[in-house]
Symmetry: C2
Subunit: 314 residues, 2 copies
Amino acid sequence: MNIDMIEAAAARARGHVRRTPLLGSPFLDDLAGRRILVKAECLQHTGSFKFRGAWSAISALQGAAGVIAFSSGNHAQGVALAARMHGLPSVIVMPSDAPALKIANTRAFGAEVVLYDRRTESREEIGERLAHDRDLTLIRPYDEPLVIAGQGTCGLEIAEQAAELGVTEADVLVCCGGGGFTAGMALALEGSRLRVRPAEPEGFDDTARSLKAGTRLHNGDAQSICDAIVTPAPGEITFPILQRLCGPGLVVSDEEALRAMALAFQRLKIVIEPGGAVALAAALFRDIEAETVIVTASGGNVDPAMFLRALDTL
Amino acid sequence: MNIDMIEAAAARARGHVRRTPLLGSPFLDDLAGRRILVKAECLQHTGSFKFRGAWSAISALQGAAGVIAFSSGNHAQGVALAARMHGLPSVIVMPSDAPALKIANTRAFGAEVVLYDRRTESREEIGERLAHDRDLTLIRPYDEPLVIAGQGTCGLEIAEQAAELGVTEADVLVCCGGGGFTAGMALALEGSRLRVRPAEPEGFDDTARSLKAGTRLHNGDAQSICDAIVTPAPGEITFPILQRLCGPGLVVSDEEALRAMALAFQRLKIVIEPGGAVALAAALFRDIEAETVIVTASGGNVDPAMFLRALDTL
Protein backbone atom coordinates (compact mmCIF):
# COMPACT_ATOMS: atom_id res chain seq x y z
CA MET A 1 0.00 0.00 0.00
CA ASN A 2 1.16 3.53 -0.69
CA ILE A 3 -0.09 7.07 -1.19
CA ASP A 4 -1.32 6.35 -4.73
CA MET A 5 -4.17 4.25 -3.32
CA ILE A 6 -5.09 7.08 -0.97
CA GLU A 7 -5.07 9.65 -3.73
CA ALA A 8 -7.28 7.37 -5.81
CA ALA A 9 -9.66 7.05 -2.85
CA ALA A 10 -9.69 10.85 -2.48
CA ALA A 11 -10.61 11.21 -6.16
CA ARG A 12 -13.54 8.80 -5.70
CA ALA A 13 -14.60 10.64 -2.53
CA ARG A 14 -14.74 14.14 -4.02
CA GLY A 15 -18.19 15.65 -3.61
CA HIS A 16 -19.39 12.77 -1.43
CA VAL A 17 -17.15 12.72 1.64
CA ARG A 18 -17.15 15.88 3.75
CA ARG A 19 -14.00 17.96 4.08
CA THR A 20 -14.14 18.41 7.85
CA PRO A 21 -12.63 21.52 9.44
CA LEU A 22 -9.35 21.70 11.36
CA LEU A 23 -10.25 23.57 14.54
CA GLY A 24 -8.34 25.01 17.48
CA SER A 25 -8.74 27.25 20.50
CA PRO A 26 -6.27 29.46 22.34
CA PHE A 27 -7.75 28.07 25.58
CA LEU A 28 -6.71 24.53 24.69
CA ASP A 29 -3.27 25.76 23.60
CA ASP A 30 -2.79 27.47 26.96
CA LEU A 31 -3.93 24.37 28.84
CA ALA A 32 -1.57 22.07 26.97
CA GLY A 33 1.35 24.49 26.69
CA ARG A 34 1.53 23.80 22.96
CA ARG A 35 -0.55 24.38 19.87
CA ILE A 36 -3.35 21.85 19.37
CA LEU A 37 -5.26 21.46 16.10
CA VAL A 38 -8.34 19.25 16.01
CA LYS A 39 -9.57 17.48 12.87
CA ALA A 40 -13.33 17.31 13.51
CA GLU A 41 -14.24 13.97 11.94
CA CYS A 42 -17.29 13.83 14.20
CA LEU A 43 -18.77 16.15 11.57
CA GLN A 44 -18.29 13.53 8.85
CA HIS A 45 -21.40 11.85 7.39
CA THR A 46 -22.80 9.33 9.97
CA GLY A 47 -20.80 11.08 12.69
CA SER A 48 -17.43 9.40 12.26
CA PHE A 49 -14.44 8.94 9.94
CA LYS A 50 -15.69 5.40 9.24
CA PHE A 51 -17.75 6.77 6.36
CA ARG A 52 -14.50 7.53 4.50
CA GLY A 53 -13.36 3.90 4.47
CA ALA A 54 -16.82 2.58 3.67
CA TRP A 55 -17.16 5.00 0.77
CA SER A 56 -13.71 4.10 -0.52
CA ALA A 57 -14.41 0.36 -0.50
CA ILE A 58 -17.92 0.53 -1.94
CA SER A 59 -17.07 3.09 -4.63
CA ALA A 60 -14.33 0.75 -5.92
CA LEU A 61 -16.67 -2.24 -6.32
CA GLN A 62 -17.49 -3.39 -9.83
CA GLY A 63 -20.89 -4.95 -10.39
CA ALA A 64 -21.49 -6.00 -6.77
CA ALA A 65 -24.97 -7.19 -5.84
CA GLY A 66 -24.72 -5.74 -2.35
CA VAL A 67 -22.47 -5.47 0.70
CA ILE A 68 -22.32 -6.97 4.18
CA ALA A 69 -20.53 -5.90 7.35
CA PHE A 70 -20.25 -6.95 10.98
CA SER A 71 -20.37 -4.06 13.39
CA SER A 72 -22.27 -2.75 16.35
CA GLY A 73 -21.18 0.81 15.83
CA ASN A 74 -19.70 3.43 13.54
CA HIS A 75 -18.56 1.09 10.75
CA ALA A 76 -22.15 -0.20 10.46
CA GLN A 77 -23.54 3.27 9.88
CA GLY A 78 -20.75 4.20 7.45
CA VAL A 79 -21.31 1.09 5.32
CA ALA A 80 -25.11 1.46 5.41
CA LEU A 81 -25.09 5.07 4.19
CA ALA A 82 -22.30 4.63 1.63
CA ALA A 83 -24.15 1.61 0.18
CA ARG A 84 -27.41 3.52 -0.02
CA MET A 85 -25.68 6.41 -1.76
CA HIS A 86 -24.43 3.88 -4.34
CA GLY A 87 -27.91 2.37 -4.75
CA LEU A 88 -26.69 -0.95 -3.29
CA PRO A 89 -28.43 -3.03 -0.64
CA SER A 90 -26.51 -3.60 2.59
CA VAL A 91 -26.80 -6.16 5.35
CA ILE A 92 -25.29 -5.39 8.75
CA VAL A 93 -24.87 -8.24 11.22
CA MET A 94 -25.26 -6.78 14.72
CA PRO A 95 -25.44 -8.35 18.17
CA SER A 96 -29.02 -8.39 19.49
CA ASP A 97 -27.86 -6.54 22.62
CA ALA A 98 -26.41 -3.60 20.66
CA PRO A 99 -27.81 -0.22 21.72
CA ALA A 100 -31.30 0.23 20.30
CA LEU A 101 -30.40 3.65 18.92
CA LYS A 102 -27.46 2.28 16.92
CA ILE A 103 -29.68 -0.46 15.46
CA ALA A 104 -32.36 2.10 14.61
CA ASN A 105 -29.82 4.46 13.01
CA THR A 106 -28.30 1.69 10.91
CA ARG A 107 -31.77 0.75 9.66
CA ALA A 108 -32.57 4.41 9.02
CA PHE A 109 -29.49 4.63 6.79
CA GLY A 110 -31.15 1.93 4.68
CA ALA A 111 -29.46 -1.26 5.89
CA GLU A 112 -31.09 -4.60 6.57
CA VAL A 113 -30.02 -5.42 10.12
CA VAL A 114 -29.57 -9.11 10.98
CA LEU A 115 -29.39 -9.65 14.71
CA TYR A 116 -27.55 -12.56 16.34
CA ASP A 117 -27.14 -13.79 19.88
CA ARG A 118 -23.50 -13.34 20.73
CA ARG A 119 -23.56 -16.06 23.41
CA THR A 120 -24.85 -18.84 21.13
CA GLU A 121 -24.22 -17.80 17.51
CA SER A 122 -21.16 -16.97 15.41
CA ARG A 123 -21.41 -13.76 13.44
CA GLU A 124 -18.79 -15.06 11.00
CA GLU A 125 -20.92 -18.11 10.17
CA ILE A 126 -24.06 -16.03 9.74
CA GLY A 127 -22.15 -13.52 7.62
CA GLU A 128 -20.53 -16.14 5.41
CA ARG A 129 -23.84 -17.87 4.78
CA LEU A 130 -25.59 -14.60 3.91
CA ALA A 131 -22.70 -13.41 1.73
CA HIS A 132 -22.73 -16.70 -0.17
CA ASP A 133 -26.51 -17.06 -0.53
CA ARG A 134 -27.08 -13.47 -1.59
CA ASP A 135 -23.82 -12.72 -3.35
CA LEU A 136 -22.83 -9.94 -0.94
CA THR A 137 -19.33 -8.44 -0.69
CA LEU A 138 -17.86 -8.26 2.81
CA ILE A 139 -16.55 -4.83 3.87
CA ARG A 140 -14.04 -5.37 6.70
CA PRO A 141 -13.70 -2.57 9.26
CA TYR A 142 -9.91 -2.12 9.17
CA ASP A 143 -7.94 -5.04 7.72
CA GLU A 144 -8.88 -4.09 4.16
CA PRO A 145 -6.62 -1.99 1.89
CA LEU A 146 -9.48 -0.04 0.31
CA VAL A 147 -10.82 0.89 3.74
CA ILE A 148 -7.36 1.93 4.94
CA ALA A 149 -6.98 4.06 1.79
CA GLY A 150 -10.31 5.75 2.51
CA GLN A 151 -9.34 6.60 6.09
CA GLY A 152 -6.10 8.01 4.69
CA THR A 153 -7.98 10.68 2.77
CA CYS A 154 -8.35 12.43 6.13
CA GLY A 155 -4.56 12.66 6.29
CA LEU A 156 -4.36 14.36 2.89
CA GLU A 157 -6.82 16.99 4.12
CA ILE A 158 -4.88 17.50 7.34
CA ALA A 159 -1.63 18.09 5.45
CA GLU A 160 -3.29 20.76 3.30
CA GLN A 161 -5.17 22.42 6.15
CA ALA A 162 -2.16 22.45 8.46
CA ALA A 163 0.01 24.00 5.74
CA GLU A 164 -2.60 26.77 5.32
CA LEU A 165 -2.06 27.52 9.01
CA GLY A 166 1.70 27.50 8.57
CA VAL A 167 2.16 24.11 10.25
CA THR A 168 4.43 21.63 8.45
CA GLU A 169 5.91 19.79 11.44
CA ALA A 170 3.81 18.17 14.18
CA ASP A 171 2.86 14.98 15.94
CA VAL A 172 -0.48 13.69 14.63
CA LEU A 173 -2.35 11.67 17.25
CA VAL A 174 -4.96 9.25 15.91
CA CYS A 175 -7.63 7.47 17.96
CA CYS A 176 -6.67 3.84 17.38
CA GLY A 177 -8.68 0.60 17.51
CA GLY A 178 -7.78 -2.00 14.88
CA GLY A 179 -5.47 0.51 13.24
CA GLY A 180 -7.20 1.23 9.94
CA PHE A 181 -7.45 4.96 10.55
CA THR A 182 -3.92 5.16 11.97
CA ALA A 183 -2.43 3.17 9.08
CA GLY A 184 -4.24 5.25 6.46
CA MET A 185 -3.14 8.49 8.10
CA ALA A 186 0.45 7.27 8.37
CA LEU A 187 0.53 6.35 4.68
CA ALA A 188 -1.02 9.68 3.69
CA LEU A 189 1.55 11.62 5.69
CA GLU A 190 4.58 9.45 4.85
CA GLY A 191 7.42 11.65 3.69
CA SER A 192 6.00 14.75 5.42
CA ARG A 193 7.15 16.03 8.79
CA LEU A 194 3.76 15.20 10.29
CA ARG A 195 4.45 12.09 12.38
CA VAL A 196 1.51 9.82 13.20
CA ARG A 197 1.17 8.27 16.69
CA PRO A 198 -1.67 6.06 17.90
CA ALA A 199 -3.71 7.07 20.95
CA GLU A 200 -5.59 4.43 22.96
CA PRO A 201 -7.58 4.00 26.18
CA GLU A 202 -6.11 2.21 29.21
CA GLY A 203 -6.73 -1.53 29.07
CA PHE A 204 -6.89 -1.42 25.26
CA ASP A 205 -3.35 -0.25 24.60
CA ASP A 206 -2.52 -3.25 22.41
CA THR A 207 -1.08 -1.04 19.67
CA ALA A 208 1.22 0.94 21.98
CA ARG A 209 2.48 -2.30 23.57
CA SER A 210 2.78 -4.07 20.22
CA LEU A 211 4.82 -1.24 18.72
CA LYS A 212 7.17 -1.40 21.72
CA ALA A 213 7.44 -5.20 21.61
CA GLY A 214 7.79 -5.37 17.83
CA THR A 215 5.02 -7.96 17.59
CA ARG A 216 1.20 -8.02 17.74
CA LEU A 217 -0.03 -8.36 21.32
CA HIS A 218 -3.61 -8.84 22.54
CA ASN A 219 -5.57 -6.99 25.19
CA GLY A 220 -6.60 -8.79 28.36
CA ASP A 221 -9.97 -8.58 30.07
CA ALA A 222 -10.66 -4.91 30.52
CA GLN A 223 -13.50 -2.42 30.43
CA SER A 224 -13.55 1.01 28.82
CA ILE A 225 -16.18 3.56 27.92
CA CYS A 226 -14.31 4.08 24.62
CA ASP A 227 -16.49 1.49 22.84
CA ALA A 228 -15.58 2.67 19.33
CA ILE A 229 -11.94 1.55 19.65
CA VAL A 230 -11.93 -1.49 21.93
CA THR A 231 -10.55 -4.08 19.50
CA PRO A 232 -8.67 -7.23 20.59
CA ALA A 233 -5.35 -6.64 18.80
CA PRO A 234 -3.73 -4.66 15.96
CA GLY A 235 -4.77 -5.83 12.48
CA GLU A 236 -2.66 -8.13 10.31
CA ILE A 237 -2.49 -5.63 7.48
CA THR A 238 -2.47 -2.48 9.59
CA PHE A 239 0.26 -3.40 12.09
CA PRO A 240 3.22 -3.65 9.68
CA ILE A 241 2.28 -0.20 8.33
CA LEU A 242 2.18 1.20 11.87
CA GLN A 243 5.53 -0.43 12.67
CA ARG A 244 7.15 1.14 9.64
CA LEU A 245 5.72 4.64 9.95
CA CYS A 246 4.38 5.53 13.42
CA GLY A 247 5.91 7.07 16.50
CA PRO A 248 5.29 5.60 19.97
CA GLY A 249 1.71 5.14 21.18
CA LEU A 250 0.02 7.22 23.87
CA VAL A 251 -2.46 5.93 26.45
CA VAL A 252 -5.13 7.84 28.41
CA SER A 253 -7.66 6.97 31.09
CA ASP A 254 -11.43 6.98 30.61
CA GLU A 255 -11.56 9.96 32.97
CA GLU A 256 -9.16 11.90 30.75
CA ALA A 257 -11.24 11.05 27.67
CA LEU A 258 -14.35 12.43 29.43
CA ARG A 259 -12.48 15.59 30.36
CA ALA A 260 -11.37 16.03 26.73
CA MET A 261 -15.00 15.63 25.60
CA ALA A 262 -16.03 18.39 28.00
CA LEU A 263 -13.29 20.72 26.78
CA ALA A 264 -14.27 20.03 23.17
CA PHE A 265 -17.83 21.02 24.09
CA GLN A 266 -16.69 24.18 25.84
CA ARG A 267 -13.89 25.37 23.58
CA LEU A 268 -14.51 23.85 20.13
CA LYS A 269 -18.32 23.45 20.12
CA ILE A 270 -18.14 19.90 18.84
CA VAL A 271 -19.65 16.69 20.22
CA ILE A 272 -17.22 13.80 20.51
CA GLU A 273 -17.63 10.30 21.89
CA PRO A 274 -15.18 8.75 24.38
CA GLY A 275 -13.33 6.72 21.75
CA GLY A 276 -13.08 9.83 19.57
CA ALA A 277 -11.63 11.87 22.42
CA VAL A 278 -8.54 9.83 23.34
CA ALA A 279 -6.24 11.66 20.92
CA LEU A 280 -7.31 15.06 22.24
CA ALA A 281 -6.91 13.75 25.79
CA ALA A 282 -3.37 12.60 25.01
CA ALA A 283 -2.53 16.01 23.50
CA LEU A 284 -3.85 17.75 26.61
CA PHE A 285 -2.65 15.47 29.38
CA ARG A 286 0.48 13.60 28.22
CA ASP A 287 4.03 14.91 27.84
CA ILE A 288 4.72 15.44 24.15
CA GLU A 289 7.84 17.07 22.79
CA ALA A 290 6.35 18.40 19.56
CA GLU A 291 5.48 22.11 19.59
CA THR A 292 2.32 21.46 17.58
CA VAL A 293 0.04 18.47 17.99
CA ILE A 294 -2.73 17.62 15.54
CA VAL A 295 -5.42 15.25 16.80
CA THR A 296 -8.33 13.42 15.25
CA ALA A 297 -11.72 13.88 16.90
CA SER A 298 -12.76 10.64 15.25
CA GLY A 299 -16.43 10.32 16.08
CA GLY A 300 -19.38 11.87 17.87
CA ASN A 301 -21.88 9.06 18.33
CA VAL A 302 -22.42 9.40 22.06
CA ASP A 303 -25.65 9.12 24.00
CA PRO A 304 -26.81 11.95 26.25
CA ALA A 305 -26.14 10.02 29.49
CA MET A 306 -22.46 9.57 28.65
CA PHE A 307 -22.24 13.19 27.51
CA LEU A 308 -23.58 14.32 30.88
CA ARG A 309 -20.82 12.33 32.59
CA ALA A 310 -18.33 14.28 30.48
CA LEU A 311 -19.89 17.67 31.27
CA ASP A 312 -19.74 16.80 34.97
CA THR A 313 -15.94 17.02 34.76
CA LEU A 314 -16.06 20.77 34.00
CA MET B 1 -24.22 49.09 1.04
CA ASN B 2 -23.81 46.38 -1.58
CA ILE B 3 -22.01 43.16 -2.35
CA ASP B 4 -18.73 44.95 -3.16
CA MET B 5 -18.27 45.77 0.53
CA ILE B 6 -18.87 42.13 1.41
CA GLU B 7 -16.40 40.90 -1.17
CA ALA B 8 -13.85 43.37 0.17
CA ALA B 9 -14.48 42.06 3.70
CA ALA B 10 -14.05 38.50 2.42
CA ALA B 11 -10.69 39.43 0.89
CA ARG B 12 -9.53 40.88 4.22
CA ALA B 13 -10.80 37.80 6.04
CA ARG B 14 -8.99 35.20 3.95
CA GLY B 15 -6.72 33.04 6.10
CA HIS B 16 -8.05 34.57 9.33
CA VAL B 17 -11.77 33.82 9.45
CA ARG B 18 -12.73 30.14 9.41
CA ARG B 19 -14.67 28.74 6.48
CA THR B 20 -17.23 26.82 8.52
CA PRO B 21 -18.83 23.66 7.10
CA LEU B 22 -22.35 23.35 5.71
CA LEU B 23 -23.74 20.26 7.43
CA GLY B 24 -26.87 18.16 7.12
CA SER B 25 -28.39 14.88 8.24
CA PRO B 26 -30.97 12.62 6.59
CA PHE B 27 -32.61 12.34 10.04
CA LEU B 28 -33.29 16.06 10.17
CA ASP B 29 -34.54 16.02 6.57
CA ASP B 30 -37.00 13.24 7.46
CA LEU B 31 -38.17 15.09 10.54
CA ALA B 32 -38.80 18.34 8.67
CA GLY B 33 -40.08 16.82 5.44
CA ARG B 34 -37.61 18.92 3.48
CA ARG B 35 -33.88 19.23 3.04
CA ILE B 36 -32.12 21.16 5.79
CA LEU B 37 -28.55 22.46 5.48
CA VAL B 38 -26.86 23.93 8.55
CA LYS B 39 -24.08 26.53 8.38
CA ALA B 40 -22.10 25.74 11.53
CA GLU B 41 -20.97 29.20 12.63
CA CYS B 42 -20.63 27.89 16.17
CA LEU B 43 -17.30 26.55 14.86
CA GLN B 44 -16.13 30.07 14.00
CA HIS B 45 -13.32 31.59 16.11
CA THR B 46 -14.72 32.59 19.55
CA GLY B 47 -17.71 30.30 18.95
CA SER B 48 -19.92 32.61 16.92
CA PHE B 49 -20.31 34.48 13.62
CA LYS B 50 -19.61 37.72 15.52
CA PHE B 51 -15.90 37.23 14.87
CA ARG B 52 -16.56 37.87 11.16
CA GLY B 53 -17.94 41.36 11.73
CA ALA B 54 -15.32 42.23 14.32
CA TRP B 55 -12.54 41.12 11.99
CA SER B 56 -14.04 43.08 9.11
CA ALA B 57 -14.28 46.31 11.08
CA ILE B 58 -10.88 46.06 12.77
CA SER B 59 -9.02 44.97 9.63
CA ALA B 60 -10.32 48.08 7.84
CA LEU B 61 -9.01 50.51 10.49
CA GLN B 62 -6.13 52.78 9.55
CA GLY B 63 -3.75 53.75 12.33
CA ALA B 64 -6.18 53.17 15.20
CA ALA B 65 -4.76 53.25 18.74
CA GLY B 66 -7.23 50.64 19.97
CA VAL B 67 -10.88 49.60 19.92
CA ILE B 68 -13.77 49.61 22.35
CA ALA B 69 -17.08 47.74 22.41
CA PHE B 70 -20.11 47.34 24.66
CA SER B 71 -21.25 43.76 24.99
CA SER B 72 -21.92 41.07 27.51
CA GLY B 73 -21.63 38.28 25.00
CA ASN B 74 -20.45 37.08 21.64
CA HIS B 75 -19.59 40.48 20.15
CA ALA B 76 -17.25 41.10 23.10
CA GLN B 77 -15.28 37.94 22.42
CA GLY B 78 -15.18 38.57 18.67
CA VAL B 79 -13.82 42.10 19.10
CA ALA B 80 -11.32 41.03 21.76
CA LEU B 81 -9.79 38.25 19.65
CA ALA B 82 -9.84 40.17 16.36
CA ALA B 83 -8.12 43.12 18.06
CA ARG B 84 -5.47 40.86 19.58
CA MET B 85 -4.81 39.26 16.20
CA HIS B 86 -4.21 42.78 14.84
CA GLY B 87 -1.90 43.66 17.72
CA LEU B 88 -4.36 46.29 18.95
CA PRO B 89 -5.53 46.84 22.53
CA SER B 90 -9.25 46.42 23.18
CA VAL B 91 -11.53 47.61 25.95
CA ILE B 92 -14.85 45.86 26.47
CA VAL B 93 -17.45 47.54 28.67
CA MET B 94 -19.47 44.77 30.35
CA PRO B 95 -22.15 44.80 33.06
CA SER B 96 -20.74 43.67 36.39
CA ASP B 97 -23.42 40.98 36.60
CA ALA B 98 -22.45 39.38 33.28
CA PRO B 99 -21.68 35.65 33.57
CA ALA B 100 -18.25 35.17 35.13
CA LEU B 101 -17.24 32.79 32.35
CA LYS B 102 -17.96 35.36 29.63
CA ILE B 103 -15.94 37.99 31.49
CA ALA B 104 -13.10 35.51 31.96
CA ASN B 105 -13.18 34.49 28.29
CA THR B 106 -13.17 38.08 27.09
CA ARG B 107 -10.13 38.78 29.28
CA ALA B 108 -8.47 35.58 28.06
CA PHE B 109 -8.84 36.83 24.48
CA GLY B 110 -6.69 39.79 25.54
CA ALA B 111 -9.27 42.49 26.26
CA GLU B 112 -9.29 44.94 29.15
CA VAL B 113 -12.73 44.48 30.69
CA VAL B 114 -14.31 47.56 32.27
CA LEU B 115 -17.25 46.61 34.47
CA TYR B 116 -20.16 48.93 35.19
CA ASP B 117 -23.24 48.74 37.37
CA ARG B 118 -26.20 48.66 35.02
CA ARG B 119 -28.57 50.05 37.67
CA THR B 120 -26.54 53.20 38.41
CA GLU B 121 -24.16 53.81 35.50
CA SER B 122 -24.53 54.44 31.76
CA ARG B 123 -22.34 52.27 29.58
CA GLU B 124 -22.53 54.88 26.82
CA GLU B 125 -21.08 57.55 29.11
CA ILE B 126 -18.32 55.26 30.31
CA GLY B 127 -17.58 54.19 26.75
CA GLU B 128 -17.51 57.72 25.35
CA ARG B 129 -15.18 58.91 28.09
CA LEU B 130 -12.79 55.97 27.58
CA ALA B 131 -12.92 56.31 23.79
CA HIS B 132 -12.08 60.01 24.06
CA ASP B 133 -9.39 59.75 26.75
CA ARG B 134 -7.60 56.83 25.14
CA ASP B 135 -8.33 57.45 21.48
CA LEU B 136 -10.25 54.18 21.00
CA THR B 137 -12.47 53.40 18.03
CA LEU B 138 -15.96 52.14 18.85
CA ILE B 139 -16.99 48.87 17.15
CA ARG B 140 -20.80 48.72 17.12
CA PRO B 141 -22.38 45.26 17.23
CA TYR B 142 -24.74 45.60 14.24
CA ASP B 143 -25.51 49.16 13.12
CA GLU B 144 -22.12 49.51 11.42
CA PRO B 145 -21.58 48.92 7.69
CA LEU B 146 -18.19 47.24 8.11
CA VAL B 147 -19.65 44.83 10.66
CA ILE B 148 -22.61 44.06 8.40
CA ALA B 149 -20.18 43.44 5.53
CA GLY B 150 -18.18 41.02 7.68
CA GLN B 151 -21.27 39.03 8.66
CA GLY B 152 -22.15 38.90 4.97
CA THR B 153 -19.01 36.88 4.20
CA CYS B 154 -20.90 33.94 5.68
CA GLY B 155 -23.48 34.35 2.91
CA LEU B 156 -20.82 34.20 0.18
CA GLU B 157 -19.62 30.90 1.65
CA ILE B 158 -23.15 29.53 1.84
CA ALA B 159 -23.81 30.32 -1.82
CA GLU B 160 -20.67 28.46 -2.86
CA GLN B 161 -21.20 25.50 -0.55
CA ALA B 162 -24.88 25.13 -1.45
CA ALA B 163 -24.03 25.20 -5.17
CA GLU B 164 -21.49 22.38 -4.59
CA LEU B 165 -24.40 20.35 -3.20
CA GLY B 166 -26.57 21.24 -6.19
CA VAL B 167 -28.73 23.73 -4.24
CA THR B 168 -29.35 27.09 -5.92
CA GLU B 169 -32.84 27.84 -4.62
CA ALA B 170 -33.74 27.85 -0.92
CA ASP B 171 -34.97 29.85 2.04
CA VAL B 172 -32.04 30.92 4.22
CA LEU B 173 -33.08 31.37 7.86
CA VAL B 174 -30.84 33.60 9.95
CA CYS B 175 -30.89 33.92 13.75
CA CYS B 176 -31.76 37.59 14.14
CA GLY B 177 -31.14 40.10 16.95
CA GLY B 178 -30.28 43.64 15.83
CA GLY B 179 -30.16 42.43 12.24
CA GLY B 180 -26.48 42.76 11.38
CA PHE B 181 -26.09 39.12 10.45
CA THR B 182 -29.39 39.03 8.59
CA ALA B 183 -28.65 42.22 6.65
CA GLY B 184 -25.17 41.04 5.69
CA MET B 185 -26.49 37.68 4.54
CA ALA B 186 -29.28 39.33 2.54
CA LEU B 187 -26.82 41.63 0.77
CA ALA B 188 -24.46 38.72 0.04
CA LEU B 189 -27.28 36.66 -1.47
CA GLU B 190 -29.04 39.51 -3.29
CA GLY B 191 -29.68 38.48 -6.87
CA SER B 192 -29.43 34.77 -6.09
CA ARG B 193 -32.42 32.50 -5.53
CA LEU B 194 -31.43 32.04 -1.90
CA ARG B 195 -33.96 34.15 0.00
CA VAL B 196 -33.03 35.34 3.49
CA ARG B 197 -35.60 35.30 6.30
CA PRO B 198 -35.04 36.32 9.93
CA ALA B 199 -35.73 33.82 12.74
CA GLU B 200 -36.44 35.07 16.27
CA PRO B 201 -37.54 33.85 19.69
CA GLU B 202 -41.04 34.52 21.03
CA GLY B 203 -41.22 37.86 22.86
CA PHE B 204 -38.31 39.22 20.80
CA ASP B 205 -39.96 39.06 17.38
CA ASP B 206 -39.46 42.78 16.73
CA THR B 207 -38.02 42.13 13.27
CA ALA B 208 -40.86 39.86 12.11
CA ARG B 209 -43.43 42.38 13.36
CA SER B 210 -41.51 45.36 11.96
CA LEU B 211 -41.26 43.76 8.52
CA LYS B 212 -45.01 43.16 8.57
CA ALA B 213 -45.80 46.68 9.78
CA GLY B 214 -43.31 48.38 7.49
CA THR B 215 -41.77 50.31 10.38
CA ARG B 216 -39.38 49.62 13.26
CA LEU B 217 -41.23 48.27 16.30
CA HIS B 218 -39.85 47.57 19.77
CA ASN B 219 -40.15 44.51 21.99
CA GLY B 220 -42.10 44.70 25.21
CA ASP B 221 -41.07 43.23 28.54
CA ALA B 222 -40.29 39.62 27.86
CA GLN B 223 -37.89 36.88 28.92
CA SER B 224 -36.07 34.42 26.70
CA ILE B 225 -33.21 31.98 27.11
CA CYS B 226 -31.95 33.16 23.69
CA ASP B 227 -29.68 35.78 25.28
CA ALA B 228 -27.52 36.26 22.18
CA ILE B 229 -30.36 37.80 20.17
CA VAL B 230 -32.59 39.66 22.63
CA THR B 231 -32.19 43.20 21.27
CA PRO B 232 -34.79 45.95 21.75
CA ALA B 233 -35.58 46.74 18.07
CA PRO B 234 -34.22 46.38 14.54
CA GLY B 235 -31.22 48.58 13.80
CA GLU B 236 -31.44 51.89 11.96
CA ILE B 237 -29.03 50.78 9.25
CA THR B 238 -30.02 47.13 9.19
CA PHE B 239 -33.80 47.47 8.97
CA PRO B 240 -34.05 49.18 5.55
CA ILE B 241 -31.82 46.43 4.13
CA LEU B 242 -34.08 43.76 5.63
CA GLN B 243 -37.17 45.54 4.28
CA ARG B 244 -35.74 45.61 0.79
CA LEU B 245 -34.40 42.06 0.64
CA CYS B 246 -35.86 39.65 3.20
CA GLY B 247 -38.86 37.35 3.22
CA PRO B 248 -41.23 37.18 6.20
CA GLY B 249 -39.82 36.46 9.66
CA LEU B 250 -40.29 33.22 11.60
CA VAL B 251 -40.76 32.92 15.35
CA VAL B 252 -40.09 29.95 17.65
CA SER B 253 -40.51 29.21 21.35
CA ASP B 254 -37.67 28.70 23.82
CA GLU B 255 -38.76 25.07 24.07
CA GLU B 256 -38.37 24.64 20.31
CA ALA B 257 -34.92 26.22 20.44
CA LEU B 258 -33.91 23.72 23.15
CA ARG B 259 -35.23 20.85 21.07
CA ALA B 260 -33.25 22.08 18.05
CA MET B 261 -30.10 22.22 20.22
CA ALA B 262 -30.67 18.60 21.23
CA LEU B 263 -31.17 17.48 17.63
CA ALA B 264 -28.01 19.34 16.58
CA PHE B 265 -26.15 17.43 19.32
CA GLN B 266 -27.60 14.10 18.23
CA ARG B 267 -27.57 14.43 14.44
CA LEU B 268 -24.94 17.04 13.57
CA LYS B 269 -22.48 16.70 16.49
CA ILE B 270 -22.32 20.45 17.02
CA VAL B 271 -22.92 22.52 20.15
CA ILE B 272 -25.26 25.47 19.68
CA GLU B 273 -26.63 27.99 22.14
CA PRO B 274 -30.35 28.87 22.36
CA GLY B 275 -30.02 32.07 20.32
CA GLY B 276 -28.03 30.15 17.71
CA ALA B 277 -30.70 27.47 17.44
CA VAL B 278 -33.78 29.51 16.51
CA ALA B 279 -33.20 29.24 12.75
CA LEU B 280 -32.83 25.45 12.94
CA ALA B 281 -35.91 25.31 15.17
CA ALA B 282 -37.89 27.31 12.61
CA ALA B 283 -36.75 24.97 9.80
CA LEU B 284 -37.82 21.94 11.83
CA PHE B 285 -41.04 23.14 13.41
CA ARG B 286 -42.60 25.87 11.20
CA ASP B 287 -44.43 25.47 7.91
CA ILE B 288 -42.11 26.56 5.12
CA GLU B 289 -42.88 26.19 1.44
CA ALA B 290 -39.30 25.99 0.19
CA GLU B 291 -38.07 22.47 -0.61
CA THR B 292 -34.64 23.27 0.80
CA VAL B 293 -33.97 25.38 3.87
CA ILE B 294 -30.51 26.60 4.84
CA VAL B 295 -30.09 27.76 8.44
CA THR B 296 -27.36 29.49 10.39
CA ALA B 297 -26.25 27.80 13.62
CA SER B 298 -24.95 31.17 14.72
CA GLY B 299 -23.19 30.47 17.99
CA GLY B 300 -22.26 27.82 20.52
CA ASN B 301 -21.45 29.73 23.71
CA VAL B 302 -23.75 27.87 26.06
CA ASP B 303 -23.07 26.78 29.61
CA PRO B 304 -23.44 23.12 30.64
CA ALA B 305 -26.59 23.70 32.72
CA MET B 306 -28.50 25.12 29.74
CA PHE B 307 -27.16 22.34 27.52
CA LEU B 308 -28.51 19.76 29.95
CA ARG B 309 -31.94 21.39 29.67
CA ALA B 310 -31.70 20.91 25.91
CA LEU B 311 -30.62 17.26 26.16
CA ASP B 312 -33.56 16.61 28.47
CA THR B 313 -35.89 17.21 25.51
CA LEU B 314 -34.58 14.10 23.69
